[in-house]
Amino acid sequence: MLRLVLRRVLAVVPALLGLALAAAVVAALAGPGWVEALGAALAALPATLALVLPALALGTVLGALLGVMGGAGAVLGGVGPAMPGFLLAAVFAATLAKAPVLLGLAALALPAAAQAATLAGRARAGAEDTVLLAARGRGMDGSALLWRLVLPLGLSAAMGGLRSAVAGTVTAAVAVESLFGRTGAGQLFVEAARAGDTGMAFAALAGMCGLTVLLSALGGALHGFIDPRARMA
């Protein structure tokens, strides 16, 4: 597992360095305070990570579970395209602004769960006539089938779409941080963009792109750990 993580992370190091270099160049061209801009963007990233990571983990696992079980998962996957994270964040901010942390998490987790449910549902449907039929033929049924075959299949399929889910969640985190007044790279990005501060806005955007690349790489490593077929990708 550690080797897989290292390999995936090392593969994205040039991209991360390129993003850092681009942010430094743009910030330096925009004004004298480029070191402060980069420092502020880096300091704000952990808060965004603390919002994005649990939402992604929760959304992917719950979505995969619901997706392979059908019913609610199919409904969730069906309405998924209608509820991007920023729209959910706006709806929650306008109607239920009592618990911003939980609502922010829900606004980010639901779209990820919807995508995971769709992918897991498709994976289960694709395996019905092959793997699952063979397992049933060998007498496996009920919870053993779900936990040992169906859920790993669904989870693997859901993790195959993690790259786009990470990008979508990081994008929606900007709206969540802005609407709920949470500190983080998204809030920093919006404030800097509104103020026309090119250096700070670009540094915050580059930071979020770096976070996306890193999380996608870690997701890819975890996918490879769960499903050996994904290790070669």
């Binding site: 069906g78 209608a82 991007p84 706006a90 306008a94 979508g168 963009a193 955007l205 996306t212």
Partner: protein, 273 residues
């Protein structure tokens, strides 16, 4: 059993319907796509009616829809054109150029590209013009279209009927005109369609943050952002519902197009002489 062409079997729907009709039938047979098309048509009519009638929260939401949908259409068309050109150039220029051109496109699809629109909106200031925002939204949508279109073109170029046409000594220009283009149109249209929801999402997010459509132009995102900040659930309901419906419809039609046209693609793969 079907007889040879030119006999009474011409009256059979299987022979009467051409590939375009069959593709249309497959698209409308996909329930989310049929529902999406109906919703989109109803939305267009409602937005037009709202512009004429106006007034009230519903009229305001429909008027905002006019701005959002116009922006989406322009940016989506631009993004689709750019993406298709990107993919076609990559495939036409050979394997090495294809790798070099498609690697950045694939990398860009994994980034939060939609944030480029609020970035540019903020940097251009409140008096920003619509044209640069449309161009940035088109650039945001292009990489995903390029990746899907390249995959479609590669799949098409691997088809046996093209190898057969090449083996038969049909010249490149004729093969392109008579075999590749007619079979590529529908899958490429499905790839191009993905630019529309991407452009709408990017515009709505940027406008929600107050960094999208220029000052004085109210789209769904602008109305949703203002209502969310004011905590006004009633004002939020109309534009949020319309935006959600439009996104759902666009995705439904896109999914239907991918499914229907991929099947149409395989059944019309015989080419035309």
């Amino acid at each position: 059993m079907h007889g040879p062409a030119g006999t009474e079997s011409r009256t059979d729907p299987h022979w009467r319907d051409g590939p375009w009709q069959k593709a249309g039938q497959r698209l409308t047979a996909h329930r989310p796509a049929a529902a999406g098309l109906t919703v989109l048509a109803a939305l267009m009519l409602a937005v037009a009616a709202g512009l004429v009638a106006g007034g009230g929260p519903v009229g305001a939401a429909l008027a905002a829809g006019h701005q959002s949908l116009s922006f989406t259409l322009l940016a989506g068309l631009g993004g689709a054109a750019l993406g298709l050109l990107w993919a076609a150039a990559a495939v036409a220029l050979g394997e090495r150029a294809e790798r070099a051109m498609m690697a950045p496109a694939a990398a860009l699809t994994g980034l939060p590209l939609a944030l480029a629109l609020p970035l540019v909106g903020g940097l251009l200031g409140p008096q920003r013009g619509l044209a640069p925002m449309v161009m940035v939204a088109a650039l945001i949508a292009a990489p995903a279209v390029a990746v899907i279109a390249r995959d479609e073109l590669r799949a098409l170029l691997r088809r046996e009927f093209l190898s057969a046409a090449q083996a038969a000594g049909i010249p490149n220009g004729r093969r392109l005109r008579r075999h590749i283009l007619p079979n590529a149109v529908l899958p490429l249209a499905a790839a191009a369609w993905t630019a529309l929801p991407r452009a709408l999402m990017a515009e709505s997010l940027a406008s929600l943050l107050g960094l999208g459509l220029p000052a004085g132009v109210t789209g769904w995102g602008t109305a949703i952002g203002a209502a969310a900040r004011a905590g006004d659930a009633v004002a939020l309901a109309g534009p949020a519902l319309l935006l959600a419906l439009t996104l759902w419809a666009l995705h439904g039609v896109g999914d239907g197009m991918r499914l229907a046209f991929a099947t149409a693609f395989s059944t019309t793969a015989g080419g035309r002489r």
